[in-house]
Amino acid sequence: MKIKIIVSLIMAITLVTCLSACVCAADQYDPVRQDSVAVQIVKTELIILAISCVIGLLVILAMKSKHAPPKQNTTAGGNLKGKSFVLLSHRDMFMYSTTTRTPRQTQQNSGRRPR
């Protein structure tokens, strides 16, 4: 019960903050992004909501993995006799090389608008 109240409270605070920010900035206009500030806040909140849902899902998957059936063993590292592994031969032979060339971005071709 306590947890439900805490969750509802956090959600309510977030929602109220978001709405009040939108109301305060309703008539403001951002000339750089060519969008109203209120729309920007809503967009940001939607992105934050999506990220939070992904985090929540990851947390649940991590918790659920503790309940999964055991996995089949595919290695025998624990059955190696002491330090019995010996590298008998090793060769690193150069074959060929490939080179790529791309033009450097300069102020003329960087695509930025002059201020």
Binding site: S52, P69, L80, K81, M93
Partner: protein
């Protein structure tokens, strides 16, 4: 069949020929040159079959039996019908422990046995401890004493020993980058990397019972084989045991897969200093293989929840517990909401602080 050797350029795939002037193989298409040694290595590698070969020998009592047999309990006289592979069981009427010595005598006798070190009560406690920290476990599953059956089982295992010899070749690259006033340059050097190594493996356990789930039996490892003793009937009293019904040859494929993966990993760990390493081919040869027949101690616990049986197994020597647990969907939804709400609040605070700093 005679081997056909194909000499193709590793860079562009065109046919290449030996250049007498350079004393190297030269590609007419891309102009790259390759040493004879390198091309021989590439051809050898392309013609190897890349398979695992093993020589395990034949275990002395390979063979399978099926059907049922009837015994009479010496204590209460009741007739007990059991599988022909049963080694130890108990009378269903009086609970008297019965060891059927025919299935573990002479040719069928296990080489070694790991006696139980943990008792029934330890298994119960271990199961309760196993529930700890599992936040999505239904409360009823935790609180109700729903353990249906606890059995101490001597599970038949094959223990594989061998020397393994492996080789592998890799395509590896190193990258260098630089620039001048007009261009950025990236040069990628391609290498053929080959490694050969050997290692000894001791007592790779593979369960020899088709009744036991392989994933559970594998997950119970490791067993400490220093505690193994020569087999005696007396260790079986009060426990349940079946003779093997998967022969050593069938079980060897699982041991081979594990050896192959381990050898591949050991060889791969010796390749350093490259940006990318991709395995081309490899092979593993196992020699001097021997197999031992062993009985290893496992506590099997069955619990029932909402008409579904859940199986747990505990290593009777070390106490390691494995099993599958149910998930409470309501709890999962609750924890999702908490995690999402907390992260949303934290991200909002960070965003707000970033805005204030700006």
């Amino acid at each position: 069949m005679d081997k056909v050797l194909d000499y193709k350029c590793p860079c562009c795939g065109a046919a290449i020929a030996f250049d007498p002037r350079a004393q190297e193989l030269k590609c007419a298409s891309c102009g790259n040159t390759y040493s004879v040694e390198l091309m021989s290595e590439l051809c050898d590698e392309a013609n190897s079959d890349g398979k695992t070969t093993s020589d395990w020998g034949t275990y002395k009592c390979d063979g399978r039996a099926s059907g049922t047999v009837t015994y009479s309990c010496r204590f209460c006289g009741a007739e007990i019908e059991c599988d022909v592979n049963t080694v130890a069981t108990e009378c269903v009427y009086c609970g008297n422990p019965i060891v059927i010595s025919d299935t573990v005598s002479g040719m069928n006798s296990p080489d070694v046995i790991l006696p139980f070190k943990l008792d029934r009560e330890s298994a119960k406690t271990a199961l309760i401890n196993y529930y700890n920290g599992k936040k999505l476990l239904p409360d009823e599953f935790k609180s109700e004493n729903n353990i249906e059956r606890i059995r101490g089982v001597y599970v038949p295992y094959w223990l594989y020993n061998c020397h393994s010899h492996a080789n592998a070749t890799y395509d590896a690259t190193r990258v260098h980058s630089w620039h001048d006033s007009r261009y950025n340059y990236v040069r990628t050097d391609h290498f053929l990397v080959s490694r050969t190594g050997g290692a000894d493996f001791a007592d790779i356990p593979v369960d020899a019972s088709s009744k036991m789930p392989d994933n559970y039996m594998d997950a119970l490892e490791p067993f400490d084989f220093s505690g193994a003793v020569p087999f005696r009937d007396g260790y079986m009293a009060g426990y349940v045991a079946d003779r093997y019904d998967v022969d050593s040859l069938s079980g060897s494929s699982r041991a081979e897969l594990r050896i192959e993966n381990t050898m591949n990993s050991l060889l791969r760990d010796t390749v350093h200093g490259y940006v990318s390493v991709v395995k081309r081919r490899g092979s593993v040869q196992n020699s001097n293989g021997t197999v031992r027949y062993a009985f290893l101690p496992v506590w099997i616990l069955n619990t029932r929840y909402k008409d579904k049986t859940y199986l747990f197994a505990m290593n009777g020597q070390t106490g390691k517990m494995v099993g599958e647990l149910p998930v409470d969907k309501g709890k999962a939804a609750k924890f999702f909401a908490i995690a999402a709400a907390v992260s949303m609040a934290v991200i909002n605070v960070i965003a707000l602080l970033a805005l204030l700093v700006r």
